[in-house]
């Protein structure tokens, strides 16, 4: 009985973890800027069709979302990442 309860608690804990409030990854990292030359990171902030990921999905704070937007636009202009499509 006790064993079962422990297992259930463990499972619920795991479930809860999924819904925990996320914090902005850039604030957590403690960086000052978003490097527009770092293609790999920018691509992870885009969807498969290279649309900018919404704040809701990426969890980025408002301040950094504006920087992300600027960085992606610069990288697109220099043909580092595509405007549309993959």
């Amino acid at each position: 009985m006790r064993e079962k309860r422990e297992k259930r608690e463990k499972r619920d804990k795991k479930k809860f973890k999924r819904f925990q409030a996320r914090t902005c990854r850039f604030e957590r990292m403690g960086v000052e800027l978003i490097d527009w030359k770092d293609v790999a990171t920018l691509q992870r902030l885009c969807t498969g069709q290279s649309m900018v990921l919404a704040r809701k999905r990426s969890g980025t704070s408002a301040l950094f979302q504006r920087k992300v937007k600027e960085a992606i636009k610069r990288a697109r202009f220099m043909a580092l990442i595509p405007y549309e499509g993959s």
Binding site: K4, K7, G30, E32, L33, K37, D38, M78, A79, L80
Partner: protein, 141 residues
């Protein structure tokens, strides 16, 4: 004198295989406009995300320099006229060049760390997830 960061997209076939000549075009242009170049990098010849002026590949040149603000417009104009340069992006930096380089290096390091930790977490989750299913089954019983 203001700090600038500029990236030039250069035609890879204009000077044949002679990469030094292509680099020279840009560095001469910067010199002409009185830029004090602190860093000049050449990226590898890479594929473009989309065609620019009929080109599928290009060489990226990155320059960090200090230049009087009055010369900026003429530098841009010369870049437009130059046939080797396909596209250019000149940005004025908020901070001085050493600070900017420091911030970029920090960004690189932190993002790499983040990626590694995410990967580790996902791997852990997957391992635990399998256990979780087993757990769930046993609880159901």
């Amino acid at each position: 004198m203001y700090p600038y960061e500029a990236m030039f997209l250069v035609d890879p076939v204009k000077h044949g295989e002679d990469a030094a000549a292509t680099e020279k075009v840009v560095s001469a242009l910067l010199e002409k406009h009185g830029a004090k170049v602190t860093r000049f990098e050449k990226w590898d010849d890479r594929k473009l995300a989309y065609d620019i002026k009929g080109h599928k590949r290009g060489i990226y040149l990155l320059a960090l320099f200090e230049m009087p603000g009055a010369n900026l417009a003429s530098l841009r104009g010369d870049c437009e006229l130059n046939e080797t340069i396909l596209r250019q992006l000149i940005l004025r930096l908020d901070t001085d060049i050493p600070t900017y380089l420091e911030q970029c290096a920090k960004y690189q390091e932190k993002t790499r760390e983040e990626l590694e930790s995410r990967r580790a977490a996902r791997r852990e989750d997957e391992e635990q997830g399998e256990e979780g299913i087993e757990d769930f089954a046993s609880v159901q019983e």
